[in-house]
Point group: C2
Chain length 173, copies 2
Amino acid sequence: MTVSKTAEKSSEKPGDAAKGRKDAAEAQPEALQLGELSEQLGYVLKRAQLKVFENFLRCMASLQLTPAQFSVLLLVEKNPGRNQTEIASTLGILRPNFVAMLDNLESRDLCARIRSTNDRRSHILVLTDKGKAVLTRAKKLVATKHESRLNELLGQANREALLEMLSKIANEF
Amino acid sequence: MTVSKTAEKSSEKPGDAAKGRKDAAEAQPEALQLGELSEQLGYVLKRAQLKVFENFLRCMASLQLTPAQFSVLLLVEKNPGRNQTEIASTLGILRPNFVAMLDNLESRDLCARIRSTNDRRSHILVLTDKGKAVLTRAKKLVATKHESRLNELLGQANREALLEMLSKIANEF
DNA sequence: GATAATTGTTATGGACCATATCAAATATCG
DNA sequence: CGATATTTGATATGGTCCATAACAATTATC
């Protein structure tokens, strides 16, 4: 089911008509049959996810935010006063792996760690002013350039149905 | 948007009632607000994909097949006489990374490389008898234990609609 | 006050992905 | 034909992400 992020090499010249013929001495490449693969949930899900992330990165190129970083900023904004463990765990990120991520966001002055006075072990996470501004711009980019494509592609009703089904899978599968 | 594969540590004791209270001196953990995150296509898509892969691996534990390996076997079965480059590229796997994967399948006698007589550079891929038998069993496991869950969860009609929407995203996003 | 648990952190290894490069074989073209 | 370019499978290598063990500092527990 694996699908890499490689851009298809596109060695096909769209000008040539008559594709798929076999009798001529041409012996064209002849595309493979996906068969049952296109009905496999995991396969289609993975391919879709890669495409969506790819598009997300393009839309956010000006802000240099990955999907993971965007999710951290969103969650910190919505949940002020939480520490690293809490933010990381609700995102499914392991604490050790969250450290470098925060180092990055902090070095770019998007997010700050503050020693908690209640529990001096933990670091309270907050967005900096720049972080808030960047997040605001990021949200607009995502809404206008990224999520909007879903509506164009599926329509509003289907888009909502899709999100709901995916959430159900994520929570109950 | 990142979501790791970590199993939630489940430090919650389901026996305790009265969750989410705040007035008592207990000061419970209080779950974070996902906010707009739960509406982000990429976030939900990734979480769903991880859950599906996780379930797939559990269902295939007896056969020790990953989603990627299963997809290779499926594609080789459906397209006999193709070489490594063709199989790998249609799966989005880069040729260099496909080598180790085939080494694995071949060492387990599920798949074989055969030097082509037409073009002695290329290796024709075929399933061994054992590979065919394993694939047959794998298909049954996937159908009865894995894909069937989708029907239970969404219903037949919704399941088909989901697959179609995901394919659309994978192909046209 | 001794022991256990938690928080952030480092180190480390594995899985997956991507690029450059190579030898062998084939294709192309003068 | 023969020189050059291309293709195929393969190796080496680096990057990113994910997972576990271990540690010091701090706090909780008894």
